[in-house]
Symmetry: C2
Subunit: 269 residues, 2 copies
């Protein structure tokens, strides 16, 4: 890659400013009766004015400061740029958590250079927690405390803590995927649900060992993969290939290569 250290430092500082600006839109609406809209389709796919206003504000900031950069956002789609840089945004990942008052929704920001992620940021405003992955390292800030992230050393499924947002075949998983997850989770020690992208942050902290999902889109995984990998974890699709190269958005994040391989075996059936 042919960009300078200074350029990446500049974008890192700017990403933090974007996350702060998103907080200004999301926090006043959290637990305050945010307006809820249903996007479309047969099942409830909510979006709130928190999602929309946060994306509107941070897109404006990017367009103003870096007019040649591309932008992909969950709510307002893709804007083509000129050149190698692109910002990938999910202003509120976990809208269901948001509208239920649970502090596991997050803001996701990624920077890509020639379509490869070079920065990933996960921000939880209510708990004041922020994960930042850059230069192959992930750090975590909670309030004033900053620590370097390190995934757990768990290699055996029988000791693993697994998470997925919804194990039922009603939302992200189809029947096959739901059955594969049930097969896998049965071999693990404990399962937790409904944490969306926050679960990848917990994996980076060494608190969760496996996150298995389907239906992830570019604006979801772009920020997550650097956070997982920067903490020493592994993130691929269910075939072991790069995330986003299958047609179902199937992803698996694991604390160790051994755990990853064992889980892939069971998912394959």
């Amino acid at each position: 890659m042919s960009f300078s250290k200074e350029q990446l430092e500049e974008y890192t500082a700017f990403a933090a400013r974007l996350a702060d600006a998103a907080r200004g839109q999301t926090m006043p609406r959290f637990r305050s009766g945010a307006q809820i809209f249903n996007k479309a389709g047969p099942w409830f796919d909510p979006v709130t004015d928190a999602d929309r206003e946060a994306e509107r504000v941070i897109r404006e900031m990017i367009t103003k400061v870096y007019p040649k950069h591309g932008v992909i956002g969950e709510e307002f789609g893709a804007s083509e740029g000129e050149g190698p840089w692109r910002w990938v945004l999910d202003p509120v990942d976990g809208t269901r958590a948001f509208i239920c008052g649970a502090a596991t929704w997050v803001t996701l920001i990624a920077v890509e250079y020639e379509a490869s992620p070079v920065l990933g940021l996960i921000d939880q405003p209510y708990t004041d927690e922020r994960w930042l992955a850059v230069n192959g390292e992930t750090q975590f800030r909670h309030g004033e405390t900053v620590v370097k992230c390190q995934a757990s050393g768990v290699r055996d499924l029988s000791k693993a803590r697994i998470s997925t947002t919804d194990p039922r075949p009603v939302a992200y998983f189809n029947d096959r995927e739901s059955e594969a997850f049930a097969r896998l989770s049965k071999t693990t020690r404990v399962a937790r649900f409904s944490m969306d992208a926050y679960a990848y942050g917990l994996l980076a902290l060494g608190e969760i060992d496996l996150v298995v999902e389907a239906g992830l889109q570019h604006h979801d995984y772009a920020a997550l993969a650097p956070v997982v990998i920067g903490a020493g974890g592994v993130m691929t699709n269910w075939a072991g290939g790069p995330v986003g190269t299958d047609d179902r958005g199937e992803t698996i994040a694991a604390a160790t290569p051994e755990l990853h391989a064992a889980a892939l075996d069971i998912l394959a059936g």
Copy 2:
């Protein structure tokens, strides 16, 4: 009831001191590799040194200050008292959340007078959130901000946000209960899982409308019922009777009597 306002005020202040003391034992162990023990039985039923040390410390405080009071705790069982007062403790409700780094575990403290709850306290130390129900009112403190709790006005299942800790028939629910929950959750707008007692706090804040569970024990529901009822909600077993009077620990908490009645109908099948 024949106790004075001053007596209840004294126990309210003492309950807050107990919750603070529990924080001293739980917080240093959260996300810090707490020792995990398996209680027994065919499935993983974890307890940590955080549970045990927190209960040990707060039981000692009670015994020292109120030697005649009874105490029921999750980890160290029941101590008979003399007279009408009893403390009911669950030092870490949500041990699975605790060992996965998720900040939805809580400390539960209840005070009973002649076996009826007169005070309920839910404490989440990491987020600095505390619910206190006394004199028929529930208040919520987050950091320095205190608000009076009011459950939502949701009366229709189609608008309801429902929660249970695990929808699968592998933990708390048996097959019949898991099917009943699936039937009910299908009629609601959105479902969230894995929040343990924290979900009742969100119901009191108007953010969740229904919490449906089984397997709740005295040390779980003693603190929760006052919090729900003090926010204007309803809490019963699945037959509409008092919580704890069935042999399965089936509980339902609802934001409104209308929502409660509609949910009971569907749970009955």
